[in-house]
């Protein structure tokens, strides 16, 4: 009965909130109706005994895989049984079933099926799609090789066309060309979409996609010519059998090349695809998912750390008084509240990209690709910016929970190891930043040559206006009012403009000294990454600020405005050099910014528990003893620990095997 009660500290925190948590939840979900539907789907999963299981922390890697696979198969059946077909609803269902973790059919559902839809001919769809839909075929997507990731042109796997038999001969010519990492490849899949360099009529035609059977239907044994297996233990992703694939003169029929765009005719004639910009669309889509995932993962970590900080008491603030909640320490607030503000900021950025993508998708299907390059550049940078920040933020949250954060029972180690690879996959972050930089430099060059640019980079137009009255950058003053979000957007804009200009000028200077463009680019890349970061930072502040005016409820708007200010001011205080160096802010203003950050911490303090409650993570989904909604942390830690595998017997076998013999000898 005691356990059913809510911890008194948390109860008090919730009672003191100045706004209604549900209203904010509705905003995050995109409307009250969406919240209702999300909870309905959540209940479907959580009340389903088929999806119950032991705490994953106590399972071995192979047991985790087994559990995940069991749940994945059920998930596919039940999704169809319930008729859930909307992509977002499928996403919810899946993340409740797997509690935010990856699962073995991810690549089948997320890459294999969609690739068939977009790149297969109608004839190929007839052959593969329904079997794959019914899971007779389970596929994965094999792109990355052991020696090659980011640089696609460097992939070494070959597919050589043999007109005599009308087959492609697939080979992994070197160790570095072995396909490495694809999820579901190690144990689960019987087919793979393999990316390989196409050779026909003695010429290399670049990368193309092929449908490759890898395991015998029925026995699930690898087919002759195929070497396939699991790549071994990883930091996280225990649920997934990331695999390797080596092919030796492995033949597939000509009809297994995905030929909706490029084609190889029976005699070996190669027919070129129409446009390659279309592949941008998929990348934009996946990277926009990572932005949303950054927001969610950071939100989960914040929920745990903030609830726990309200429950945990330590040391003295006032002599003679009881130990205070650690949430009352300025240093703890300084660690956590800016991250909370960041989580909110990233939610709104994620929603923005999703909406923009949906809007542009319609244009794309009408053949209008004009907005795609900017969106592509923006999502590349934002993917990197948000995943780096969230990655570091999750670790901060864990650290803020002290020793208990390090225990698996806190749930944060798992959030971290699951999230951190997103800094690498779907485009390594530094490379992503440099892609954005390329777009920024291009836009800057357009401006300096007298053209106007549009969209998120339009602030660069101001640079050319200032060039008419020649003056040093430092003289470009913005009158910054530090308690006005709109004015802070201007400050961020000025910083981005300055850093883009500085990087572009350094690049030009290098070009003047050296011959090669690539070398000059490389020698400027640290500057270029900084410029991209500043640009993305500006975009985030801008989007967060823009969101405020859409909020109709005054109490919610007030608290979001405080978070927005905190986000913007904290960002300045962490990067004061950029703002001071070119005189965007004065010394006195920076001191004021630092002071305002601390004042905001105190202002936001009464609402923080309500602010994480608004994320509305169910305890099962959160998977944390420290972050429990009811706050009964310590008794549940004890209960949890008793289930540890080391506690299965009262005396561990090591005593009889090792300790006892040693003691008797000495």
């Amino acid at each position: 009965a005691a356990i059913a009660m809510m911890n008194a500290d948390l109860r008090r925190e919730r009672a003191a909130a100045t706004f209604q948590t549900e209203l904010l939840t509705h905003i995050l979900d995109g409307g009250a109706e969406r919240t209702r539907r999300r909870k309905e789907i959540e209940a479907l999963v959580l009340n389903d005994p088929d999806f119950q299981h032991e705490d994953l922390n106590f399972l071995s890697r192979s047991e985790r895989y087994e559990q995940a696979l069991r749940k994945s198969s059920l998930m596919v059946m039940k999704l169809r049984e319930y008729g859930i077909a909307d992509p977002e609803e499928i996403y919810w269902f899946k993340s409740f079933v797997h509690r935010g973790r990856p699962e073995p059919l991810d690549l089948h559902l997320g890459m294999f099926l969609p690739t068939l839809l977009t790149q297969a001919t109608p004839e190929q769809q007839d052959r593969f799609f329904m079997p794959a839909w019914n899971l007779d075929i389970i596929g994965t997507y094999a792109q990355t090789e052991m020696g090659h990731g980011t640089h696609l042109r460097g992939l070494e796997t070959t597919a050589t066309y043999d007109p005599a038999t009308q087959e492609f001969i697939l080979n992994s010519p070197t160790v570095t060309s072995i396909k490495w990492w694809p999820g579901g490849l190690g144990k689960t899949s019987n087919h793979a979409i393999v990316l390989a360099q196409l050779y026909t009529q003695g010429q290399c035609k670049g990368l193309h996609a092929f449908i490759v059977p890898i395991r015998q239907l029925g026995t699930h044994k690898p087919l002759p010519g195929i070497t396939v297996g699991d790549i071994g233990p990883k930091f996280g992703f225990d649920e997934i059998d990331n695999g390797y694939l080596k092919m030796d003169n492995y033949r597939i029929p000509r009809e297994n090349m995905l030929m909706k765009y490029a084609q190889v005719e029976p005699d070996g004639t190669y027919v070129k695809p129409v446009s390659d910009k279309l592949t941008y669309g998929t990348m934009v889509f996946i990277r926009s998912l990572i932005v949303g995932d950054s927001a969610r993962s950071l939100s989960r970590a914040c929920t745990i750390a903030i609830r726990y900080s309200a429950v945990r008491h330590q040391s003295e603030l006032k002599p003679g008084e009881p130990e205070p909640q650690i949430l009352d320490y300025q240093t703890q607030q300084y660690k956590l509240f800016p991250l909370l503000a960041t989580a909110y900021a990233f939610h709104f950025v994620g929603a923005y990209i999703k909406n923009t993508y949906q809007r542009i998708s319609r244009d794309i299907s009408d053949g209008d690709l004009s907005e795609l390059p900017e969106l592509h550049a923006l999502t590349a940078g934002l993917k990197a910016f948000t995943s780096w920040t969230a990655n570091a933020g999750i670790e901060e949250c864990r650290m803020a929970c002290g020793g208990h954060g390090y225990s698996r029972c806190s749930g944060i180690p798992d959030i971290y190891v699951t999230f951190t690879p997103s800094c690498t996959y779907e485009g390594e972050n530094t490379v992503m930043m440099l892609q954005t930089a390329r777009f920024l430099v291009k836009s800057y060059t357009q401006v300096t040559s007298g053209q106007q640019v549009t969209g998120m980079v339009s602030y660069l137009n101001d640079l050319s206006r200032q060039r008419i009255q020649p003056q040093h950058v430092a003289a470009r003053t913005v009158t910054v009012r530090i308690n006005d979000p709109a004015s802070l957007v201007e400050a961020y804009k000025a910083r981005a403009a300055h850093l883009v200009e500085a990087a572009a000028k350094n690049l030009q200077a290098e070009l003047n000294h050296r011959k090669s463009k690539e070398e000059a680019w490389n020698r400027t890349s640290v500057d270029l990454v900084r410029a991209s970061e500043a640009h993305c930072h500006y975009v985030v502040v801008k989007l967060f600020t823009a969101k405020l005016s859409e909020v109709s409820n005054a109490a919610v708007r007030a608290v979001l405005t405080e978070l927005c200010l905190l986000y913007a001011l904290y960002g300045i205080s962490k990067n004061t050099g950029d703002f001071l160096q070119v005189g965007i802010l004065t010394d006195a203003q920076v001191t004021q910014v630092n002071q305002s950050v601390k004042e905001l911490l105190a202002i936001i303090r009464p609402n923080v528990v309500a602010l994480v409650d608004s994320f509305d993570f169910h305890d099962v989904h959160l998977g944390s003893v420290l972050g429990r909604y009811d706050g009964n942390v310590y008794e549940n830690m004890f209960e949890w620990a008793k289930k540890s595998p080391l506690n299965k017997t009262e005396i561990h076998q090591s005593f009889h095997k090792h300790l006892k013999p040693m003691q008797s000898k000495l």
Partner: protein, 659 residues
Amino acid sequence: SVNPDLASERQTASFSVEKLTVWLDGGVENTRTRRAVVEAIESDPEFSRENEYFESQNERYEAAVRKAVHLQKKMHEMGWTENGLEYKYIYRALAGDIAFLLHRIFMRSISMLGSDKQIAKWIPLASRCQLIGSYAQTELGHGTYLQGLETTAVFDITTQEFILNTPKISAMKWWPGDMGRSATHTVAFAQLYVQGKCYGVHPFIVQIRSLQDHSLCPGITAGDIGPKMSFEHADNGFLLLQSVRVPRENMLSKFCEVQPDGTYVRWGSQKINYFTMTSVRISLLSDEVVVPTMKACTIAIRYSVVRRQSELKPGEQEAKILDYQTQQEKLLPQLAAAYAFYFINGYLQELFDNGYKEIQKKNFDMLPELHAFSSGFKAVVTQQCTSAVEICLRACGGHGYSLLSGLPSLYTKILASCIYEGENTILLLQTARFLIKCFMAASAGQPVPPSVTYLAAVKPRRCPAKEKLDFLSPDIYTEAYQHMAARLVSSTAAKLQDLIQSGVKKHDAWNQCTVQMAQAAKAHCHYIAVKNFAETVEKLQTQAGIQKIMKHLCDLFALHGIFSNAGAFLHDGYLSGAQMDMVTASYLDLLPIIRKDAVPLVDAFDFTDKSLNSALGSYDGHVYQRLYEWAQKSPTNKQMSPAYEKYLKPLLHNKLSKL
């Protein structure tokens, strides 16, 4: 044969790797001994780590106990003793998974806090492993704040015993290593009550398991606290005490004692109770923090010259990723930091040895400075090294995420060091408290320890540098760090005083300044680290080749710090905007210079392949072959997964089509 991409890096070294190794070890005799110890341990199959990444928590624990027991035998066989030169290299050679580390802390705390009689009784038993010790301080509800511990020890005058109790769930001892399954005894910290009066936290030796059959003693509930982010091999434990009685003689009583009639006597400073922690903080830096950072740098840098990706020059072979400026900017500052903190560790060790000599003479004057230094540097070094290892991990892209890279286990282990032995923020605030006190004293013309005399000389100044090369002068950048640290300490002190004078209560004022204080403490440590690095380089004059590259690293360490913390140097105009551009230019210019020697610089750390236990970091650079072969040994590839028969087969055999 060595991968040609790695071999070519070694041919162009600007200095002798062997000479640098010897210098780092502190002489050729040390290098020889270290290598002999490493060889003896690595050639013994009992200590093999080859399957470590494939093992479960239970298997890891068992292996750790087995190794610890085997180590006793090995030491005996080899004639290694705890006082010998070999001893300090054993842990490095074992490179992880070994049980009974807390046993060492148990012994150390008895040696430091016990009376001569207690030492004579317990130490021989412990060194013969007739008992296994642990150290139980942290509780479920209390870590950093020792005064808040809730375990009680009440003196019972009639039986001359202490009665220990865990009065509530949050008072349970939680986290102590070796306690979950192994330990028979522990030093438990508890609030001492004599005749109804509380005397604060004291250490007691408590037996928790039978020496006969290892079952739990009466009144004791103990077990493992469950899986953690790392330390799978360690049985961190919980301990619940219910009216557990220990004899009066079991309270460690070098500095205080409860006499038979219940009189409480104290001699010496109470602070001495914390001395064990100070010593542990310093001693953990080398093995637990600096060495893993060096390993991570070795792995990431070697891999970065083997890994080729994209084109730098059109039409040429793909470039080594270490040739990219962004990759250099990630890794080389971490390499410089590894060296900087290796030197700081030596500096702290010396400071500690001197302090310890004084304390043994019951002179406690150095204690505050020692405490402030050990706290501040523990925080700064653990935090920066943790972040360094994580940067190395992420700089290895996808393959860094495989356990076989060795990096995830280095990371998850090192990051625990930010919390154990004092949570970093709290430690920084302790250092800040010391700095502010010294600043006040210095301003009032009172004497302060030499390390902080610079605080007296805060005045508005400008950096004299005129061109970017000026920033390669240690005087210029050391001065900049000094100025920045002094400014942050003095402005924090001023702010604190302002608040108090304006009527804010002292403790509230303190809390309102803590963010600033933590920054000031970091700045102080950063300054000392830069200064110490520069002085270390200066002393190297006789070894010209090494001095030159060390000077570059020192410059990089210093300039990276300014570059990434520009605001703090620009703030009061000490550096101008133009000077900051010079810093950036100098800093970026250093990257390609150090890049040339990057591989020799990590080779000089002299880690064997077995000790790195990494597919990416091996000396011969056969990364991909090793990764492929090792992965095939994964248990997941040896057996058909039960998941196939149970779930996959029914799935593939068309249960779904019926839907």
